[in-house]
């Protein structure tokens, strides 16, 4: 089925609710619907198999326009259907929850309500997701008339992190925000009955930096480097997704060579991400030898990235309109050499994780997720592919050089942790092969093309397959030197639902492995420094933080 047919199918499914339709881009369909029809329209979309709910964008059209919009993006292979629900800026706009149909929408709805000030009726958890608990009422960062002065923390009874202990009949084990098993801050509460988990909750936002809002104050070029810093591991994913979207808006054609180099770096980033993951999960299992080995071998790819791009992380190789660095004979020689070594090592690790008796006891049959569950929870990336669900933007909607240098998809039907190892390690072998092909067949072309300082007005959706799954970007320009709105949805957010739901019934000791099994990236999810202090305020300015650090140091 091609993209037109898919869009037509969505159009037919939405026909009873449609107020207005327009096609902003070739692969997109925007349908304006009434707020009251949202749940019915979502049900119709799901019943007609028109893709999965990928993200909800909250868009303020400004005081003059007088209304706001909530955009529900459904992705179906390359086709993106957006339900646009118009909401009044005055009073208390309300929208119905779709979380009973799409569990992962709960996260998106919490973000929508705290950022745009829309009450989501019937959402399972109406508390803050990213913003701190002492955020003032009636101040919404995504509104156009938002002023930073209004966002002063208010005195409020902040819900405390429960102490370890009984809550009624349950025993709650809190993990985090700072915990040895977590590499990044996140808070989990597991209700346990003996060793068996009976319920799980989580709280994010400890590393929320307000990047989406910050993009609105910077020019198009500066944003490239800001967005790169969303994640230290998949930095290139974010720059590619952003560059791709902005290039589409500016109607700039990037040379095939630049696109191929972007894919090459994306492949190398995937190798480094998966090897890092392998080490972390092995460490959680107590298999520290494998952790040391895989991180040693990861240095090969890190050095290679440094040689090509000039930096180990935050490569900054993409610019708007192309790439900075070329691949010459010397670089291609070192790439081949590194691939020779890595391919041999990856085969060896694949053998170990699928045969080592001790390790298999920690992975086989743990956190098994069926294909239907993966669809229901909206899993993405290797987490989905390990449950036999083929969901990969590189295949569904080939972008950039993936049209000419396609990749083969690795899936596994088993759905447990062992399958996640198999999928990721086999994906590494596929990636090594793709990198070799790319290096040997680099198309000719200029590295960069001229890029305008002002980007024409328009909206675009840009999707890129990060090592962890689909990264979703919605970019809106009003013709100025900086964007009007950038919405980012990273893959980790989607995969959380699956882990929290699958936790029930497992032993507490399996949790670190199950959590790291989906390769969570907290920094990707959270984009404000949030600290709990004695006076109850959770936010700290840079100067407060510095003064706090000096005071702490002197009082040692």
């Amino acid at each position: 089925m091609n993209t037109e047919a898919r869009l037509q199918r969505a159009k037919d499914a939405l026909a009873p609710f449609t107020r207005e339709t327009f096609a902003p881009e070739t692969n997109r369909l925007d349908v304006v619907i009434d707020a009251g029809d949202l749940t019915k329209a979502t049900a119709a979309m799901l019943a007609a198999d028109c893709g999965y709910l990928s993200a909800i964008t909250g868009l303020d059209l400004g005081v003059e326009a007088g209304y706001m919009e909530a955009l529900y993006h459904f992705c179906d292979a390359a086709a993106v259907t957006s339900l646009r629900v118009r909401l009044s800026r005055e009073g208390q706009p309300e929208i119905d929850s779709v979380a009973d149909q799409v569990p992962v929408a709960s996260f998106y709805e919490r973000e929508l309500s705290e950022m745009l000030g829309v009450t989501v009726v019937g959402t399972p958890d109406p508390t803050h997701l990213f913003l701190p608990d002492d955020w003032p009422d009636g101040v919404f960062p995504n509104r156009r008339d938002f002023k930073i002065e209004d966002a002063a923390p208010v005195e409020r009874d902040v819900p405390k992190i429960p102490e370890q202990g009984r809550m009624g009949n349950k025993f709650i084990v809190p993990i985090g925000p700072q915990h040895p098993a977590l590499k990044e801050p996140g808070h989990f509460e597991f209700a346990v009955d003996g060793e068996i988990i009976t319920g799980a909750r989580m709280r994010l936002g400890y590393v929320h930096r307000g990047i989406e809002k910050a993009t609105e104050q910077r020019n198009w070029i500066q944003n490239l480097y800001l967005l790169e810093r969303i994640c230290g591991i998949c930095s290139h994913t974010h720059t590619s997704a952003y560059a791709m979207g902005v290039e589409k808006l500016a109607q700039v054609e990037v040379s095939p060579r630049a696109l191929a180099i972007r894919e090459l770096i994306a492949g190398m980033e995937r190798i480094h991400s998966h090897l890092l993951w392998l080490g972390v999960v092995a460490h959680e299992a107590g298999f520290d030898t494998l952790f040391m080995y895989s991180w040693r071998d990861r240095e090969t790819i890190m050095n290679l990235l440094e040689e090509i791009t000039g930096n180990r992380v935050n490569y900054s190789i993409s610019v708007l309109g192309g790439v900075k660095q070329d691949i010459g004979p010397a670089e291609s020689k070192s790439i081949h050499k590194a691939m020779d070594y890595l391919e041999e090592r990856i085969r060896y690790y694949l053998d170990i994780v699928s045969t080592d008796a001790m390790f298999l006891q920690r992975t086989r049959g743990i956190g098994t997720m069926t294909r239907d569950e993966a669809i229901l929870y909206g899993a993405l990336g290797p987490t989905a592919r390990a449950s036999g669900l083929v969901r990969d933007v590189r295949l569904d909607s080939p972008y950039g050089a993936y049209k000419h240098f396609p990749i083969s998809i690795v899936t596994d039907e088993r759905g447990d942790l062992e399958a996640k190892f198999a999928v990721r390690l086999k994906e590494l072998l596929v990636t090594c092969f793709t990198i070799r092909t790319l290096v040997d067949n680099l198309p000719a072309g200029d590295l960069t093309v001229r890029f305008p300082r002002k980007v024409p007005a328009g909206e675009t959706v840009s999707r890129v397959e990060a090592p962890r799954g689909e990264a979703f970007y919605f970019i809106k320009s009003e013709g100025g030197e900086s964007p009007t709105r950038i919405k980012i949805r990273t893959p980790s957010l989607c995969n959380w639902t699956s882990v929290l739901n699958k936790a029930v019934g497992h032993q507490l000791a399996d949790m670190p492995m199950m959590i790291s099994g989906m390769d969570p990236c907290f920094s990707c999810n959270d984009r404000m420094v949030t600290v709990r202090r004695k006076n109850g305020s959770q936010t700290m300015s840079w100067f407060d933080l510095r003064a706090y650090g000096i005071e702490k140091y002197k009082s040692r």
Binding site: R218, I221, Y225, T289, E306, E307, T355, D356, A357
Partner: protein, 141 residues
């Protein structure tokens, strides 16, 4: 299922040289394209200021004394720099570059992070002009 499938690897690793480097006793070779300290050549500059406009971290200021006589002074804040290399990309006259030699940039005081490039007499003029009301970034109360 094999038990102890990593024994061979363990044994061979036992006789290998450690993978760690003995920095600072051995200074490692860094990549040719490594982005270290920024260098600026006022002779090639036209004072278009595109570099400082595009800098994501406000690390660069080009102060124009006399455009015709090519009197430019660049004030480079090394501590704010993210070493992304966008200024080099934005510059159409190739008056900037990043060194792969100077990368040991740690210092014990903040003053060391402010680097000024330009002809000595231009810097002197500028300093004379601003002595007394030196522009300082806002300090915490």
């Amino acid at each position: 299922m094999k038990i102890g499938s990593m024994f061979k690897d363990l044994l061979t690793s036992f006789f290998k040289k450690p993978i760690t480097e003995l920095y600072p006793f051995e200074r490692p070779d860094v990549a040719k394209r490594f982005r270290g300290k920024l260098y600026y050549d006022p002779a090639k500059c036209t004072g278009c200021n595109l570099c400082s406009k595009d800098c994501p971290s406000d690390a660069l200021e080009i102060i124009i004394l006399d455009r015709a006589a090519k009197k430019f002074v660049a004030r480079y804040h090394m501590d704010r720099c993210t070493y992304c290399g966008q200024c080099i990309q934005s510059c159409k006259f190739k008056c900037m570059g990043m060194s792969n030699e100077d990368w040991e940039l740690a210092a014990l005081n903040k003053e060391a992070f402010e680097v000024v490039y330009g002809r000595d007499e231009d810097i002197a003029t500028l300093l004379a002009k601003f002595s007394g009301n030196k522009t300082e970034p806002a300090k915490p109360e």
